[in-house]
Point group: C2
């Protein structure tokens, strides 16, 4: 252990356990919050999030990909290794999907104790119209061999995490990688990807939390063993103790969010509004499942009433909902919870885990209603 | 005073003084950090910041402007009050300017004691190609009367600050408002404004800190007295004591920033690199002044050497610089400071003020160089 400590190059943040029971934040966490942008919740009004409002998580730096040298290589256990230029990829069959994406760590900072990491509150979400070519076609052209069990995706983004120098890498089983909706994406909202969203090419895996949709793709490789790199074994796990390896994080859990009504106080973001009828509105989503019910509470979760669901959205996009509320003078805590087509429902209390993954606890919005 | 406290509707964050001597952050500050996005510093590589990487400060909510009803009204002390549609504004003479914008509160969280507010570190910057029509032409068409002393700009964004319900409003003297470069802007980087940057129309005042470039314009009014609203008298002041009204914040102070070299550690953002020759690079800017000198230190500010300035940029855009560094194994603190054409130079220690305004202290970047 002493040897391992000596090998640590970077100072420890907090008390060294990687956990804290404080709802105050270290400067390093703040620094991450400025790099890794949330979607302001009034952005829930848009079917498709404006590009610059979409959430963003970058583990390391946004790489400066040299396009004069860039080709996507598809290799490993394939019959015909190939190297494709961006023009060649754009010449393949095109598919467009509206996809709601969410960071697996969304809600991490609302756990207590909480992991010292990217301290997401509620805003690590966004919905884009992604366009590209199905990965399945590219893999078929290369001819994945029978002894391959996974497809490994490597990005250009390099850094240190857990004291390990690494390129960002994640894998998918062949079955998951060859689903129809999995795409190599070069367009977001009808435009080439901006650098921070993965230019020139990224993976988009609809229904999964965002860590799987590897940005700045450098290579794709068919491999004989399940990939066990840092971003697979050391993080993105539902672990309950330091010894527990935990289940891997995968599909997005059911969640709903409300666009806060009224107007905000600058610092606290508490809402102020007048009395009377108001239409509350927001969105709900559940990975590959559809939304079957959304409920709203105006008394902090004591009583709930059904919201109205809007038109059925595309399979992987968020579902609009509205709810009428008669606001009376006083302080209120509004809440919303969704239930998906498999009967999974958001809880008011979070399902705690060490890394702060998949926290889909019901949102609470404090509102002050004043007689006008 | 008791009456005033009773009138306060929103709870106080921190100890109630509005200041703290702690470099740990309240959840409310974190919440603001996720809404108000910084530009990751590797973005210094771009002459023009990709739209979704530009910094963003929104005092209240991003408004949902109803375009079926929108017209810009120009009124008050004018001979011919006018109301212009977006199409009419887009039909007026077009001007394009590449402008570096910075939030006046950039660096606030690096002061100690520090104001509890939007806790910017270094990233509240960005450079865009803004296009619109000169404000001067619109004011001339309306005919500002001789008894007007200022032009008042009102945005659609409404909220509470200092317990005062308000629309966001700022003013400029007639002299400042009629400078050639002041524009009513409807395009950012060749595209219509995204909602969060002021759609459909915003003011851009090149050379000034960002608070002056009012977004989501609702109206423009010529007024007989200097405007003394909340965003003029209560904030954006260089105040040294609670009693000191302080000078108003206006033109952007000289500043330089470095794109951190090497690769980052995920949590601390400390940089790791190998030994040998490396070209450090970044940008410098100084409001309306040009940059005359940039210096780099690799020993935490003990010794400095001149960086090379790139080609002269447009008047209001940042100036690229490079510096060669021979990295030797060990820990180093890199720093950079700029001097402008008026002889103003960044200091290593910040020029403290209560609200955390205009903190242009020299940046420090910690680097670990390891023998490969």
């Amino acid at each position: 252990m002493a040897q391992q400590d000596a090998a640590k190059r970077f100072r420890t943040v907090g008390d060294g356990t990687g956990m804290t029971s404080d709802h105050r934040y270290e400067q390093e966490e703040l620094q991450l919050a400025f790099r890794n942008r949330g979607m302001p919740l009034e952005g829930l009004r848009y079917d498709v999030t404006p590009t610059g409002m979409h959430y963003l998580l970058t583990h390391f730096d946004i790489p400066d990909v040299d396009m004069s040298a860039w080709n996507l290589s598809i290799g490993g256990l394939v019959k015909k290794p190939v190297s494709l230029s961006l023009d060649e990829i754009m010449g393949l069959p095109k598919r467009t999907e509206v996809v709601t994406m969410e960071c697996a760590g969304n809600g991490r900072a609302l756990f207590l104790p909480r992991s010292v990491s990217q301290p997401w509150l509620l805003e690590a979400i966004g919905t884009s119209e992604w366009a590209g070519t199905p990965l399945k076609g590219v893999l078929e052209a290369a001819g994945v061999q029978d002894d391959a069990v996974e497809i490994l995706f490597t990005g250009f983004d390099q850094g240190v995490q857990g004291d390990e120098v690494q390129y960002y890498q994640r894998s998918l089983t062949i079955e998951e990688a060859t689903r129809d909706e999995v795409m190599l994406v070069y367009e977001m909202n009808g435009r080439p990807l901006e650098p921070q969203h993965g230019y020139p090419l990224r993976l988009v895996v609809p229904g999964w939390y965002g860590m799987t949709s590897v940005k700045w793709l450098e290579s794709i490789e068919a491999v004989a063993e399940p990939f066990n790199g840092y971003q697979m074994h050391a993080t993105y796990r539902y672990a309950l103790t330091p010894e527990d390896p935990g289940d891997p994080v995968d599909i997005i859990r059911v969640r709903s969010l409300m666009a806060p009504p009224g107007i905000p106080d600058f610092l606290t973001r508490t809402r102020l509004m007048g009395p009377g009828a108001v239409t509350l509105t927001g969105r709900a989503w559940a990975g590959r499942n559809s939304i079957s019910r959304v409920e709203v509470s105006s008394d902090g979760g004591v009583t709930w009433s059904d919201a109205q669901l809007g038109p059925q959205p595309p399979q992987f996009a968020w579902h609009k909902w509205t709810a009428e509320w008669s606001a009376t003078p006083g302080q209120h805590t509004l809440m919303v919870r969704a239930t998906d087509s498999q009967g999974n429902r958001q809880e008011v209390e979070p399902a705690w885990n060490i890394q702060g993954m998949g926290n889909n606890m019901a949102q609470a919005v404090d509102v002050i209603v004043e007689a006008s």
